[in-house]
């Protein structure tokens, strides 16, 4: 039997580049890993693109989002209207651009809301345990037993349909996600030796939470939060689609879909572009989330 063919270059040992002296904080380390992750970079690219589009909307949108001419109703893409026009003769391209503002806003701020509330509740439940834990955990159980979209619909029904209320509803329904995450994280961190060590040097609970528990819960919160933005954007679009989110003439993508769906055959561009935008943004956040997860906590894969 022949000897295995060894490629000559296989023999060349590439020396490792370990710079001993450099200070590498865990965050920096994560950032390095992330930078090597091509998909995550694509994600960053997509989101950056949408952020730029959102910020510069007034300058790059060729038309106002809320003005059109009925005579220009449902015209196909053309040089003047790249994405065509909608049922009110408005420029779909401009509306999609302004829509980026809404989706990014709702996605980000609802998640910030859920994270703040969830973290607080999760910390309380996880660190202090006992009846506080029982009450909070039960509350989470109850909230999670509701189909979340129904819960959101109910909340919006109370508050009245509007973009802001949709944001609140989404923030509320996602609280248990973060609450449970933080609680689980706290419970496991509580058993970690470095927390034990912190107690051993006589540290107070509040300081332990702020210095040891929270910073170490941050990574999963960031990862879940990023993915949460993706979910929140879809949820906001879903509420918009059901007529419970953004209100006319706000160019929210889900709402645009719902309003134009009846013209799908005649004017498919009015449905395709907003939908694609939702998908791309969400994809972007998911890509970043995946990348962050691999970078921040390789064990957290699930």
């Amino acid at each position: 039997m022949a000897q295995p063919q060894l490629q000559p270059q296989d023999q060349v040992v590439v020396p490792l580049k370990v710079k001993q002296e450099e200070v590498v904080s865990p965050w920096k380390d994560a950032w390095r890993t992330l930078r090597k992750n091509k998909l995550a970079l694509v994600g960053f690219g997509i989101i950056l693109f949408f952020i730029i589009v959102a910020v510069l909307a007034p300058w790059i949108a060729p038309y106002p989002y809320d003005e059109g001419q009925l005579v220009m109703k449902n015209k196909p893409p053309s040089e003047a209207h790249w994405f065509g026009t909608d049922y009110n003769g408005r420029d779909v391209f401009s509306r999609v651009i302004y829509g980026a503002q809404i989706s990014l806003w709702v996605g980000t701020f609802s998640v910030i809301g859920s994270v703040l509330a969830g973290t607080l509740l999760g910390l309380l439940a996880g660190y202090y345990g006992r009846w506080i834990d029982t009450i909070i955990s039960r509350l989470f159980d109850i909230m999670l037993a509701f189909p979340s979209i129904l819960l959101a619909i109910a909340v919006v029904a109370i508050l009245g349909p509007s973009l802001q209320n949709a944001l609140i509803a989404i923030a509320i329904i996602n609280i248990p996600t973060f609450g449970r995450l933080v609680r689980a994280r706290v419970l496991s961190l509580k058993e970690e030796e470095f927390v034990m060590a912190a107690r051993a040097i006589g540290m107070k609970n509040s300081r332990i939470i702020m210095q040891h528990i929270l910073p170490n819960s941050l990574a999963p919160i960031i990862v879940t939060g990023t993915m949460g933005i993706a979910t929140a954007i879809i949820e906001a679009a879903a509420l918009g689609f059901l007529g419970l989110g953004a209100q006319a003439p706000e160019p929210e993508w889900g709402k645009m879909l719902a309003d134009s769906r009846q013209y799908i055959q005649k004017a498919p561009w009015t449905v395709i572009f907003p939908g694609l935008s939702i998908m791309l943004t969400v994809l972007g956040f998911n890509l970043i989330g995946d990348g962050l997860r691999d970078a921040l906590d390789p064990r957290m894969k699930s």
Partner: protein, 520 residues
Amino acid sequence: PAEQPKTETPAPATEPAKTGPKQLIVGRGADTKGLDPITQTDGETFKVTENIMDTLIGFADGSTELAPSLAEKWEVTPDGLVYTLKLRSGVKFHDGTDFNAEAVKYNFERWSDKSHPQHSPEGFEYYVSQFGGYKGDATHIIKSVEAVDPTTVKFTLNRPLAPFLANLAMSPFAIGSPEALKKDVKKFNEHPIGTGPFKFVEWKRNDTITLEKNPDYWNPGYPKLDKLVFKVIPENTARLTALASGEIDLMDGLNTDDIPAVKENKDLQLFLRPTNNIGYIGFNVEKKPLDNPKVREAIAYAINKPEIVTAFFDGVGEPAVNPMPKTMWGHNNDIKDREFNLDKAKQLLAEAGHPNGFKIKFWAMPVPRPYMPEGVKIAEAIQQDLKKIGIDAEIVTMEWATYLEKTRLGEQEMFMLGWTGDNGDPDNFLAVLLDKNSIGSNNYTRWANEEASQLMMKAQSNPDQAEREKLYKQVQEIIFKDVPMVPLAHSTPALAGKANIIDYNPHPKGSESLEKVDFK
């Protein structure tokens, strides 16, 4: 269409006739709520019940002219207080029991008497609104119902009611089997028993209701169909797709945008329901700055009615000038509508003291209605124009129930709503919508104009139609001048069906019996 291309000869549409029972599947947007018509108010219910239960008096095909139904003939005393109806003999309910004067009497007693065992604790909305109240109420119109003999019923009224016979023809007042009602009034709501052309078979909620031919129907030769199915397909576009693919045979709620497609499709045909409605933009005249007629008029000038109607009622609606259908007697054709004129609007605003416009909340209907197919979209179009005269209108919308509740309480500023006529009387539009006594009920504009109310009252109690016509025309003028609302459009709701459907006549009131419908 006598001439058909050769390839069309074995038309798939004729197949059901050859192969099996003749079956018509009707697609519609929502399910029936209950099948006991007197308990219901919505059209989706009547679309079904009219096929199962007959009224004493009917309407002629496609018009509001009265026609014999369970009653073959009728007479009125000159004072308008006693009506004698001659009933058809030999008619049987689907459960085999006889239809006769006693059955009619039973039905009216059930409806009018709050203490009747089969009366509903929730009340009978339509009975109250059409006959002035229940037995014992001061306003109750019907004094007595007598079964003179098995085929003769005599109604005695407390005071004359011009549209009394028209009221009898309304769908909720269909006659049900007393036996069935007495046995289980709750079940009747799920499984109605009448004398109609079709018998109830099955109800799969939110999906289908199936009826089958009543072989003993009193009208010989009818019904033509063996089976009738009502199928719920909520989305208009989806329903059309289902029609095109042959899943259903007939549908209502055709999007105006889809009309050209239906017209082009050889397998389909378009039906138009004669108009009997009004969709309007209302102003809550109690709210500033809408209390100023100049402001209201300015807005009226800024609404581009023709363009909106073209865009959203394409081909199946016409711009409205007055708050009642043009086809109805008493419509004032002399009133010339305001032109779309933004300069004029601006000028009026300036006169009213708002040269730079103002901010306002514009309530838009969350649900499609025949008179307002796309509330929010129309609101958006109006909003765009208002912006040009400096009025910053914020579109507000909420759940339908909340919308109705709040508008009824007068929380709205500018809003949109509409009305579909129940019978062929102008009173049913003008008084219902704009009489000062209707504030808190259906006068959502809260417009309380003494003069107009006086005129309408006069018209109501005057039995002479020519007199009434004059009075109503006057009322319309006042309304036009004071602009409590901008009538937007009268729609002719569009329906689509298979090309081989014949003898289908959509009725202006929104629902009809399908006994005559047949396939070619």
